[in-house]
Symmetry: D2
Subunit: 166 residues, 4 copies
Amino acid sequence: MTLPRTPAPDWQTTRWFNTDKPLALADLRGRVVALHAFQMLCPGCVQEGIPQAQRIARLFDPAQVAVIGLHTVFEHHDVMTPEALQVFIHEFRLTFPIGVDAPGEGSPLPRTMAAYGMQGTPSLILIDAEGFVRKHSFGVEPDMRLGADIALLLAERDKGGASGHA
Amino acid sequence: MTLPRTPAPDWQTTRWFNTDKPLALADLRGRVVALHAFQMLCPGCVQEGIPQAQRIARLFDPAQVAVIGLHTVFEHHDVMTPEALQVFIHEFRLTFPIGVDAPGEGSPLPRTMAAYGMQGTPSLILIDAEGFVRKHSFGVEPDMRLGADIALLLAERDKGGASGHA
Amino acid sequence: MTLPRTPAPDWQTTRWFNTDKPLALADLRGRVVALHAFQMLCPGCVQEGIPQAQRIARLFDPAQVAVIGLHTVFEHHDVMTPEALQVFIHEFRLTFPIGVDAPGEGSPLPRTMAAYGMQGTPSLILIDAEGFVRKHSFGVEPDMRLGADIALLLAERDKGGASGHA
Amino acid sequence: MTLPRTPAPDWQTTRWFNTDKPLALADLRGRVVALHAFQMLCPGCVQEGIPQAQRIARLFDPAQVAVIGLHTVFEHHDVMTPEALQVFIHEFRLTFPIGVDAPGEGSPLPRTMAAYGMQGTPSLILIDAEGFVRKHSFGVEPDMRLGADIALLLAERDKGGASGHA
């Protein structure tokens, strides 16, 4: 299993939940990042993607793997507001940090979603400890594969990064 | 299996989806009614109750069993609005009629929820063809039991009702 | 839902487990019978059919619904012996009565399996309280449908039988 | 996540399936080995452990991860014979190599099971590319954790082994 390697765009957000202060990708350098993009009224997110993100957050040490939610609303903006999201987070007892993707200009697609070229929700993006995108999946992958992919990035990090391969 | 027998209060609603006109319980006389009370941001509803209601709607002939959703918002009223519910219904592809429970006066509990004495969401209430409540469950019951309970009420109806027992 | 109605052949068995004495279909007259035909090394039986039979046995009153297992070995006879079945029953903690279908003459199909025209395992056959086959399914059906079908036969029995329809 | 490190005893077997010739642990040096110990009539094996072993075999490249089944019969020896196992393997469509653990002397425990100190079935043992036991679990662990553990051992192997840590 080898994973591609492209620089991860910084995210653009308007609000955060479950964190004292806004998080930038640069703040997480040194940790593997599992970026879970979702919409609160997307069935595949609520029934599969979100529970999987919670399993990642429970399995891995947060000092090594940062699970970050990103609310990428690209439809029905009027009802999937940050206020509605706040209730959703409370009711579903989500504890990992969740940012609200910034609205696009002249486009229904929010900015971070567009910058990453996401095709829809749920999307899961793995970013290595040096800030490179290493996996980008649309839909839900099997837990075993995801566990393996995250662990490979952790191992790389402990060895001094992918650049150490050469 | 014998089921208790108390008159079903009529429901009080402010709006309907998936039906041409508002539905009253009296309109459904002659059919067994599976009344599924939910909130669109309740995890147990979204992950278990709603899918089960859809299975009921698919299994039984709608001319014999009417599946009715009831949006009984008793918390976070400002984000679980009828407009948000409409999006939820669209995204989750629900096709059975769904009414919005009327707000209570001086109480967070909506009126139908209070009239039926529901403890929370999801709740499932079975009403027989003569308009009597025969089952009232809070949480989700096994599919097999629910299938059996509905079928018993159907059988009763075909024989001329529970009063025919005497 | 109306179910067809043909007389149930008596079963022919060589041995029984979980019962003091051999059971004949006639012994169960007055009860609805759920006859679950399986082979102990059939994946669909072990992973789906057997657990469903156990759910039937747990949900319904045994005085009303008799769950009967039938070991219908039609292949690999040398390893799916009654001695192996006994261990299987013990390990899987099955508690309902289980009969061993009698070997066919000049055919790998055992006798009861042939008499009922079963297509393979798992098969589930519902027999009404008067001894008529009312449902015959190959493979596993949804729990809700099975619960409904059994309840309809129970209701019929309580009303004096299907003949009471006329 | 760091895993302990003890030498893996060689296994002692009497027969093999799904392989041209008997396999010794030494033959697999250079690959991560997932050793899945089971009994064909153990419910937890049939319903959970075996399907998980199949998922491992499908996910990882066999040139990197060798999934090996081990039939560790410690009870009901007379019915869980190699002939019965052969039918089980055929019916459940298992494709990874499976060895039959050699009977113990004066003990119901077979030899490899005893040498590894397994507590029961199912057990899963991960052996690194240099032949050391790195994980030993009794029962079934979540897929995500197992995927991560196997990937960590793969990463270690690609870097020249655990000894490269020092």
